[in-house]
Amino acid sequence: MAGLMARASEITQAKVSKLLDRAENPEETLDYSYEQQLVQLQNVKRGIADVTTAKKRLELEDASLQQQLAKLDGQAKQALQANREDLAREALTRKATLQQQVASLQQQEQQLADQEQKLIAGEQALSAKVEAFRSQKEVIKAQYSAAEAQVKVGEAATGIGEHMQDVGLAIQRAQDKTEEMQARAGAIDELTSSGALEDFTSQGDDLDRQLAQVSAGSQVDDELAQMKKELGQGGAQ
């Protein structure tokens, strides 16, 4: 049997030797590999910047959702004061839906933060490797005959090539995650802007009805009861 570890090892080795085959002699291999490393380091830095930007965007989104939640809360209170329990219920139902979205958004935010941490660690490791490679390559060039150099170069370049694959994968995963997050944030954005309770009295559109159908029932009931208590409408009514 050949499991995932066996397969990943084969694929990584195949990729690295393809990378090395592009250059003909040891010196060329060294210089080519070093160029690749610098490019890869740049990619990692860009990857980190992308993730950081996405994280900022999410934080803004989060802040605006919190405002929206507070607004719905206020509207529910107003509605209750005006003895419109139906509207208060509607507002609280929306609030509950929104809270679910916020929770899942925050969970993904955490994942993004983890990706960012991994990339930063990856960048540090890669920088250390590139630096080691830079000093070794001059030693190899100066000290070894062509045949010996070939072996030394192979060892050094394979090690770093493998690491570059690894870091490259981390970048790719971070980018996937970032795109997913942005799509998600966009969708929530749309939901809140089109579902905002600007006008209580208008009859609900399709989205409103869908939102109302969401079974956030018990939470809404609890909140309604709590609000009534606060407003002194509790058992007295």
């Binding site: 499991g3 995932l4 570890m5 066996a6 990943a8 490797k129 490679f133 690894d166």
Partner: protein, 93 residues
């Protein structure tokens, strides 16, 4: 032997660990073929833990190839299947 845990780095482990790692590796294959995401995650996690606990992490400045490469702990079922069928799940790298 040297093992790379993707996303974590390289570890030097005793050769005697190989049998245990191969055993866990077989589990990853069975889980992926059965389409069992939980079992896949568990097997990959066990591989990572085994290497991490028994091995010595190499300095980042170490330059050398690994004898084995362990995919990330959170590899998706989809990517696992691709790997097993000989397809490269990370073609852009």
């Amino acid at each position: 032997m040297i093992v790379r845990l993707m996303g974590e780095g390289q570890f030097e482990v005793d050769d005697s660990l190989k049998a245990r790692l191969d055993e866990l590796d077989d589990e990853t294959e069975r889980a992926a073929e059965a389409g069992d995401a939980n079992a896949l995650r568990a097997a990959l996690r066990a591989l990572h833990e085994e290497v991490r606990n028994a091995g010595q992490q190499l300095d980042h400045a170490h330059l050398g190839a690994s004898d084995a490469v362990v995919p990330p702990e959170d590899l998706s079922l989809d990517d696992a299947r691709k790997l097993l069928s000989g397809e490269d799940p990370f073609p852009d790298l």
